[in-house]
């Protein structure tokens, strides 16, 4: 995905009807969030969410060790991985040692981030993503476009055609009930006969050594409680200190994500069931580096609810694939540049800094502030196009000085009036290329008028 965000957005918007449909679909989810979060204590919950996350980050090493102690005592094997490659190697090793060749995986953005599936498949291990949305994009060989609603960009007719090709559903069948029923049967088989279940974790609770997994389908549970082996893949930032913190998290997560008061299934599992094995892989992959960056640290508080995506007018109109990073939307735009500033600096500019994302974030991450900070870092690192950077510097010089500004303004107004508009509205001009008209240029500036009226010395 080497296209920049503006180019990808342009392509997405070319099908204006589809773009409008996508925008309405996500806006609908945002509105459900608004209704579900209309609790008198909602802002206090956001305060608590922000506090419990900052608290956990302040004690991260200690909490992870506490978690490890409890989990190990309960029979869970805890692994650590410095980066994505190590995570993949650890998981592969666990599976190989168990002779596992069929894996049922429930939703985990962490495994997407690490690119786990291709690694397992290359080793002859079959991986079935059992979250319905994830299965749709898996069958279509594409990444998810949303962190909670992976196939939000798919229309039901398209899903029907996909299922007809891959599952043998009747041609032309597009009713959600029929398609979901077909998927249930198709996925149930994978879930019941898997050698191993891989899940993510919405939280790790240090106090109990528990892993918390939230789903609506129950697929994570069917997998983990049926398979002889359960592997949890989780980022180190997911740890929280206590069950009281878990209560706050469970009150804010689903409300922000889908507008439900809580997901249908919230599993708290701290030990393998008798006769089965459970492993937890704790993954760093850049998180501790981010922790060391005070300006950007709070992005680690993210609980992966997706509310910022749903609330973002840009995300809604450009789609998750336009971001070119495993996690799209506003949160993705502040995570990706840390991975590769040169490749992803465009994401910091894929925003009007309208502030909607920050206002819906249940843990009060100041996303707009981090977007702006990334712009500063991109400019300072010379990542911006040279011509554009030089233009901005020139503007800076002109706009800093009254005389220079007045002179330049006079010149610009003259030019805009004298130069034929045909020359000004060429493809080179981003203002008019997107079918905007040029502003009507006033005869004189405000200050020229004021001077003429004797209002200015």
């Amino acid at each position: 995905m080497s296209r920049t965000h503006p180019a990808a957005a342009a392509v997405f918007l070319r099908d204006s009807e589809r773009a409008a449909w996508h925008d309405e679909a996500l806006w609908f989810v945002r509105q459900k969030r608004d209704t579900a979060t209309a609790l008198p204590e909602w802002e206090a919950l956001r305060d608590a969410g922000a506090a419990l996350k900052a608290h956990a980050m302040g004690r991260l090493a200690e909490l992870l060790e506490t978690f490890e102690t409890h989990a190990t005592a309960a029979g869970v094997v805890v692994h650590w991985a410095r980066d994505a490659a190590e995570h993949n190697a650890v998981v592969l090793d666990i599976l190989r040692s168990a002779g596992a060749t069929r894996v049922a995986k429930s939703k985990s953005m962490l495994t997407e981030e690490c690119g786990l599936n291709p690694v397992l498949e290359a080793s002859g291990i079959e991986v079935v993503d059992t979250d319905l949305g994830e299965r749709i994009v898996q069958l279509a060989h594409e990444p998810p476009s949303h962190i909670v609603l992976p196939a939000i960009h798919w229309k039901k007719e398209e899903i029907g055609a996909l299922f007809h090709r891959t599952m043998g559903t009747p041609a032309g069948e597009s009713s959600p009930e029929a398609l979901a029923a077909a998927a249930r049967d198709h996925l149930r088989d994978a879930l019941l006969h898997a050698d191993a279940a891989i899940t993510g974790a919405n939280a790790l609770v240090a106090e109990t050594g528990g892993v918390v997994v939230c789903t609506n389908e129950g697929n994570a549970d069917l997998g983990m409680h049926s398979a002889p082996l359960h592997i949890v893949c989780v980022g180190i930032e997911k740890i929280i200190a206590t069950l009281d913190d878990l209560a706050v998290l469970l009150r804010i997560l689903a409300r922000s994500a889908t507008g439900q008061p809580i997901t249908a299934y919230t599993t708290h599992v701290a030990a393998p069931r008798p006769g089965a094995r459970m492993h937890v892989v704790l993954v760093d992959n850049g998180r501790s580096a981010r922790l060391a960056d005070p300006e950007m640290r709070s992005a680690l508080h993210c609980i992966r609810c997706g509310a910022c995506l749903n609330s973002c007018p840009i995300y809604r109109r450009s789609g998750g694939h336009s971001y070119g990073y495993v996690i799209p939307g506003p949160i993705g735009a502040i995570l990706a540049p840390a991975v590769d500033l040169k490749a992803h600096h465009d994401l910091a500019f894929a925003s009007t800094l309208c502030g909607s994302c920050g206002d819906v974030c249940p843990v009060r991450i100041d996303i707009p502030a981090q977007l702006l900070a990334w712009r500063g870092r991109a400019a300072a690192a010379g990542a911006l196009p040279a011509g554009y950077a030089a233009l901005i510097r020139r503007f800076g010089a002109i706009l800093a000085d009254r005389r220079r500004f007045d002179r330049a303004g006079r010149w610009a107004r003259q030019a805009l009036r004298l130069i034929p508009s045909a020359l000004l509205t060429g493809r080179w001009n981003p203002w008019t290329r997107a079918s905007r008209t040029l502003p009507v240029v006033p005869r004189e500036s405000f200050r020229e008028w004021a001077r003429r009226e004797g209002r200015l010395k």
């Binding site: 506090a51 980050m57 798919w154 039901k156 959600p176 129950g218 439900q260 708290h268």
Partner: protein
């Protein structure tokens, strides 16, 4: 250094300043009719709830529910019900097999009538200490992954009943 030591040392050298724990969130939950609120939320998430009357037996209630439904009915004890979201906490120690929670087509949760709390803040404190596994279950399994259309009955139960037992 192994991965564990590297990660922990990397975290420690980030020198994140300590930050106070979250303050308790106060809520109006205690002043509403909890049972009414619970039933309303349970219905909203696709579940059904009832209270066992003095002259009814759980067995009779479950049998009559089972008659309406095709497929297996599994009856499971719930430890606590949560009014704000229609959820019931079930601990694995009260089940024969953990997988029963999702294998059953129809799930019936029986909760002591007194074990109804306003919010998750109260509910988590009633989770058994040292629990190996447990769930907050809120309504039957569902998905909205196909054009945001809600379809009830994904990989878990198609129906979920909660019976409050005053006995």
């Amino acid at each position: 250094m192994n991965a564990r030591d590297t990660v922990l040392s990397s975290i420690r050298s980030a020198a994140v300043p300590p930050s106070p724990a979250a303050e308790q969130v106060s809520h109006a939950g205690g002043t509403v009719d909890l049972l009414e609120h619970f039933f309303r939320m349970l219905t909203a998430v696709g579940g059904r709830g009832l209270v066992r009357r003095a002259n009814e037996s759980i067995v009779d209630l479950v049998t009559s529910l089972a008659e309406d439904e095709q497929g297996g009915v599994v009856v499971v004890p719930g430890r606590v019900a949560v009014a704000e979201n229609g959820a019931v906490y079930v601990d694995a120690s009260d089940l024969v097999a953990r997988a029963d929670i999702v294998r059953a087509e129809h799930l019936v949760l029986v909760v002591p009538a007194a074990a109804l709390v306003p919010t998750m803040h109260e509910a988590v404190r009633l989770m058994p200490r040292g629990s190996a596994c447990g769930w907050f279950l809120s309504g039957p399994s569902k998905t909205a992954d196909i054009e945001q259309s809600l379809v009830v009955g994904a990989q878990g139960a198609r129906t979920l009943h909660v019976i409050f037992d005053a006995g």
